[in-house]
C-alpha cells in the first residue's frame, strides 16, 4: 500500500512540477525578503515561523481587536495536500501564503482568495518503504520552510535543503546535507540570516547517527556548507566532554535541536534549544551522574563561525525524555534608561519558564507553570538541581514523573506581546510513569530502553489544559493570568497589537483571549483539533487570521482526560482563514 501511495505521489510530483509554471502565469510582484525585513517585518507579512527573527510570535496588526474580533467571518479554507500530524506554520509575503505540509509538500496560495498558485511535491527516495522511521517522521513535519530574497527554503525528511523560486515553485538548487540512510532527517525548517541557511538536523537517536547531532550553516546561493556545530561533541570544551562521564562521542546519542532558533542581528548570534540525551536513562547510557551537555540547553552560536558563545543547561542529567528544545524568544525591555536584552523560554517539557541574559547566558529568573517533580530547585547562579529520587537505580524501577513525556510544554510555541510585556504559553497538566526497561521487539535488536505509562492528570487536577500569561521583567517572571480548560491546547499561540492572543485546543475551538485579562472574547469551533502555528497578515488593507487544524498527537495522547469531548475520526488537515466583513 505504501509503495502504491509512493508511486502515486511520484507520478503526481512529476505532474505538479511540470504544471507549476502554467499555473503561475500571473503578473504578481514579489519583493525580496531581506534580513532587515526578517528582523523587523512589515506588519502585513508573516515572514518566518514565529513572525520575526526574535521568535516572539507577535503581529503589529490591530484591525482585529477586542472590539472587532466578534465580527470575524470565514474568508476561505483550504485542505492540506497530505494527511499526517499537523504542525504547520503558514508564511505570508506580498499576498502569497506559503503552506508546507507533511511529506514536504509546499503550496503557494493567493492569501486573499485562497486560490492555488503552485504546488511543489518533494520526491522522496524509494528506500523509505523499509525505513519506517523516516516514513513516520515524514508524517510529522513541522514548520519546514523559510522565506529569503525571492526564494522559499525547504528542509526535508530525507535530510536535504531545497531552494524554490517563490513565484513559481521551481527548484533552484537542492543539497543532500546528511545521510538519511544513517537516520538523519529534518523535522523543522531553517532560519536564513546574512545569506546563511542555518538548519538543525533530527534523527539523532537512531543507531547510525551516534556521535553527531548538528546545527549547520550553508551558503544561501550555492548550498556550500560553511560550518556545523555538534550538540553532543564539542572538542573545544573539556567541560562538555567530561559531562558524559566515560562515554566517548561514538556512544552518545540525542541532543536534537528540533525547534527553529532565533537570531539577534546586533550581536550576530543565533540561539537554539537542544533536546534530550540518548538513551534516556543514565543507567543505560552509561554516563553516570554527568550532566550530558549540551542536551536540554540553550546554546548561543556565532553565525559567522558556528562557535559557541555560551550555553545554559535547563535540565542536567535528564533521565525521563524531558527535552528542552522549544522556542527561544528574544525580548528587549528598557529599565531606567538601559535596554535589557533577554532570552525568555519555557525551554522544556517540564514547563519551567526561564529568563536569561542573552549576551552572556547568565540566569536571571525562573518560574514554574504546570505540575512538575523533576527539578527540586534552582540556585541564584542558575544551577538546576534534579530530583535524584526519580533517577532509576535498577532496570525496571518505575517512577511517576511530571510533566509527561509529551509535556507539560511541547512544540506548540508561546508568544510574547510587547504591549503587555507578557509571554503567553500553551501547556498541559500531565504525568506518566517512566522505567528503564529493555524492550526488544525483534530478537536481540536495539529498539527500546524505556517504558512510559499513559499520560494521566496530576493528582487533584481535573483540567488538562492551561494557557498561562507570564509577566516578564529582567528580574522576574510572574503569573499574569491562567486560563484552565478540560481539553488541552493543541496549537501554538499568536499575540497581536489588537490586544489579543489566538490559539486553539483539542475540542476544535479556536479562541481569542484578552491579553490583559485572559477573558475569552471570541471562539469558533472548526473541523479538527486546532494545530500548527496560527498567523495573521493583511492584504489590501484587510487583516486576515489563518488557523491550521488537523490531526493532533497532543490531543490524542491525553484524550482520556476529557472523554466528554470526542475527537474526530478523520484527520481534516486544513487551514481556515478569517477576516472582518468588508466595508
Amino acid at each position: 500500500m505504501k509503495t502504491l501511495i509512493k508511486s502515486l505521489l511520484m507520478a503526481t510530483a512529476a505532474f505538479a512540477v511540470i504544471s507549476a509554471p502554467a499555473l503561475a502565469q500571473n503578473t504578481r510582484e514579489y519583493s525580496p525578503v531581506t534580513d532587515e525585513m526578517l528582523a523587523n517585518p512589515p506588519a502585513e507579512d508573516w515572514l518566518s515561523f514565529r513572525g520575526a527573527y526574535n521568535n516572539q510570535g507577535y503581529s503589529k496588526l490591530d484591525l482585529i481587536n477586542k472590539d472587532t474580533v466578534d465580527d470575524l467571518e470565514l474568508a476561505w479554507a483550504w485542505p492540506m495536500a497530505e494527511a499526517g500530524i499537523q504542525e504547520t506554520a503558514p508564511l505570508i509575503h506580498d499576498g502569497i501564503l506559503f503552506l508546507q505540509t507533511n511529506n514536504n509538500i509546499v503550496e503557494a496560495l493567493d492569501a486573499k482568495t485562497g486560490d492555488r498558485i503552485w504546488t511543489y511535491i518533494h520526491e522522496l527516495p524509494e528506500l523509505p518503504a523499509s525505513w519506517s522511521y523516516q516514513l513516520n517522521q515524514a508524517r510529522r513535519q513541522k514548520a519546514s520552510i523559510a522565506l529569503y530574497q525571492d526564494k522559499v527554503v525547504l528542509t526535508t525528511v530525507d535530510a536535504k535543503i531545497v531552494v524554490l523560486n517563490a513565484l513559481d515553485g521551481k527548484v533552484v538548487w537542492e543539497k543532500q546535507v546528511l545521510d538519511y540512510n544513517k537516520g538523519y532527517s529534518y523535522t523543522v525548517g531553517p532560519i536564513v540570516v546574512d545569506n546563511k541557511i542555518i538548519s538543525a538536523i533530527s534523527g539523532c537517536s537512531i543507531a547510525g547517527t551516534a556521535g553527531g547531532c548538528y546545527i549547520l550553516a550553508h551558503d544561501f546561493e550555492t548550498g556550500e556548507e560553511l560550518w556545523r556545530f555538534n550538540t553532543i561533541n564539542d572538542p573545544d570544551n573539556p567541560e562538555q566532554q567530561a559531562s558524559w562521564g566515560e562515554v566517548p562521542p561514538e556512544n552518545r546519542w540525542g541532543g536534537t535541536p528540533w525547534t527553529i532558533g532565533s537570531y539577534d542581528p546586533e550581536t550576530r548570534t543565533t540561539f537554539w534549544g537542544i533536546g534530550m540525551p540518548g538513551p534516556y536513562s543514565e543507567l543505560i547510557r552509561g554516563s553516570g551522574d554527568g550532566s550530558v551537555l549540551y542536551t536540554n540547553s540553550t546554546i548561543a552560536l556565532d553565525i559567522d563561525t558556528g562557535k559557541l558563545k555560551w550555553y545554559y543547561q535547563h535540565l542536567p542529567r535528564d533521565n525521563w525524555d524531558l527535552d528542552s528544545p522549544f522556542e527561544r524568544i528574544l525580548v528587549d525591555q528598557e529599565v531606567d534608561g538601559e535596554v535589557k536584552k533577554m532570552l525568555v523560554t519555557v525551554a522544556g517539557k517540564n514547563g519551567i519558564a526561564f529568563g536569561l541574559d542573552r549576551e552572556t547566558g547568565k540566569y536571571l529568573w525562573h518560574k514554574e507553570t504546570v505540575h512538575q517533580n523533576v527539578v527540586t530547585g534552582i540556585d541564584p547562579d542558575g544551577t538546576v538541581h534534579i530530583n535524584e529520587d526519580l533517577v532509576a537505580k535498577a532496570v525496571g524501577e518505575e517512577h511517576l514523573v511530571c510533566a509527561s513525556v509529551s509535556g507539560g510544554k511541547l512544540w506548540q510555541a508561546g508568544s510574547y506581546s510587547p504591549l503587555t510585556q507578557a509571554y503567553y504559553v500553551p501547556l498541559t497538566e500531565a504525568c506518566n510513569t517512566v522505567a528503564p526497561t529493555q524492550t526488544e521487539f525483534t530478537a536481540g535488536n536495539a529498539v527500546g530502553a524505556m517504558k512510559f505509562g499513559p499520560r494521566v492528570l496530576p493528582e487533584g487536577v481535573t483540567e488538562a489544559g492551561l494557557v498561562q500569561a507570564i509577566a516578564v521583567t529582567p528580574t522576574s517572571g510572574k503569573t499574569k493570568w491562567d486560563y484552565r480548560s478540560r481539553p488541552t491546547p493543541t496549537s501554538s499561540v499568536l499575540a497581536t497589537a489588537g490586544g489579543l492572543v489566538f490559539g486553539g485546543d483539542a475540542a476544535r475551538d479556536v479562541k481569542a483571549w484578552d491579553q490583559e485579562t485572559g477573558e475569552v472574547v471570541w471562539s469558533q469551533r472548526l473541523n479538527a483539533p486546532i494545530g500548527g502555528y496560527p498567523a495573521t497578515y493583511a492584504v489590501d488593507g484587510e487583516q486576515y487570521l489563518v488557523v491550521p487544524t488537523g490531526y493532533s498527537n497532543s490531543a490524542s495522547s491525553i484524550s482520556s482526560a476529557f472523554p466528554e469531548i470526542p475527537l474526530p475520526t478523520g484527520s481534516g488537515n486544513s487551514i481556515f482563514v478569517f477576516k472582518l466583513p468588508s466595508k
Binding site: W131, F441, N445, V447, A449, M450, Y551
Partner: protein, 274 residues
C-alpha cells in the same frame, strides 16, 4: 486444509484499530479492508533483524507445515534507540500488510500491544561474551580497569546492568552501549574495549562477514549470569485460529529436527523451541 484456512483468513484477517484521533497514527494510514489471503500468508521481517536469514528459513518451514505459500515481505527498520514510533509502525504493518511478523523477542517486557499476540518460541539463543585476548577464559579474568561493550537495549545488556548495580563500584567494569555491532567489534579488535556482550546470532553474522574477527573467542560470562532471548512470531490477537495453527506448526518443526537443522546451517549456538 488449505481451503479451510483461506476461508478463516477471510473472516478474521481484519484487525483494525479504532478509527479516531486517539492514537498517534492518523486513521487515513490504515487500510479499512480485509486481506484476501487465498492460500498464502504474508510474512514480514524486520530488515535490521539480526537473525533475518534464519527467520526466513523458519517462515518457509512453517508455511510448508501448514501447506501455505509464504509471501515474504521486508518489513521496517531504522528506528531510534528509544523505540519512538516503532509500535506505530508495528500496528500499521500488522493491520495493513502482515499476517505474521517473524523474529520477535518472546519476553515479559515485550512492547507490543494487546492487539497482537506472540507465538510460542521457535528457538532460543544465548548472549555471549566475545574477546580477542587469548589469556582470558572468563569475564572475571578481565581487569576491572578495562571497559566492556554491550548491545544497546538488549536482554544481555539488561542482565549485565542488573548484576553490576549489585556490586561495589570498584568491582564493576565500565560498560559502553553500542547500537552498531560492527563498530563494537572494531573496538574490541583495536583494544578500546576488552570484550563485548551481544546476541550469539549477531556474533555469528560478524564472524561470517569479517575476516579480521576470526580472532574473537566466546568466553564464560561468569561472574555475570548467562542470559538468552527466545524467538517467536507476532500475529493478530483476533486471529486466534492462525496463532493456534502456527503454534502447532512450530511444535512440529521443533520436534522433527527442522529448527535444529536450521540452527546448525546458520552457525548459531542455541536450541530449538524454549
Amino acid at each position: 486444509m488449505r481451503q479451510f484456512l483461506s476461508a478463516v483468513f477471510l473472516l478474521v484477517a481484519c484487525a483494525l484499530p479504532a478509527l479516531a484521533q486517539n492514537s498517534s497514527i492518523p486513521p487515513e494510514e490504515f487500510n479499512n479492508t480485509s486481506r484476501l489471503s487465498g492460500d498464502s500468508i504474508n510474512v514480514c521481517f524486520d530488515r535490521t533483524s539480526l537473525g533475518l536469514a534464519f527467520d526466513q528459513d523458519v517462515a518457509r518451514a512453517i508455511g510448508d507445515a501448514l501447506f501455505l505459500r509464504v509471501e515474504a515481505i521486508e518489513g521496517f527498520g531504522g528506528f531510534p534507540l528509544n523505540g519512538d514510533a516503532l509500535l506505530d509502525e508495528v500496528t500499521l504493518a500488522m493491520t495493513n500488510t502482515c499476517d505474521v511478523f517473524m523474529g520477535v523477542s518472546v519476553s515479559p517486557n515485550s512492547p507490543v500491544s494487546d492487539a497482537f499476540a506472540i507465538t510460542r518460541p521457535y528457538a532460543t539463543f544465548p548472549f555471549v561474551l566475545a574477546v580477542a585476548d587469548p589469556d582470558w577464559q572468563r569475564l572475571g579474568d578481565i581487569p576491572k580497569s578495562r571497559k566492556l561493550g554491550t548491545a544497546m537495549a538488549s536482554m544481555g545488556e539488561m542482565n549485565y546492568i542488573t548484576w553490576a548495580q549489585q556490586q561495589p563500584e570498584n568491582e564493576r567494569w565500565v560498560r559502553l552501549p553500542y547500537a552498531d555491532f560492527d563498530l563494537m567489534t572494531t573496538r574490541v579488535l583495536d583494544g578500546s574495549i576488552a570484550g563485548m556482550i551481544l546476541w550469539q546470532p549477531a556474533l555469528a553474522r560478524i564472524l561470517a562477514s569479517r575476516p579480521d574477527a576470526k580472532v574473537l573467542r566466546v568466553i564464560d560470562s561468569a561472574p555475570v549470569p548467562s542470559s538468552e532471548t527466545r524467538v517467536g512470531a507476532l500475529v493478530s490477537s483476533r486471529n486466534s485460529f492462525l496463532r493456534a495453527q502456527i503454534d502447532e506448526a512450530i511444535d512440529a518443526i521443533v520436534r522433527d529436527g527442522t529448527i535444529a537443522g536450521l540452527i546448525e546451517k546458520h552457525g548459531y549456538s542455541g536450541r530449538a523451541g524454549e
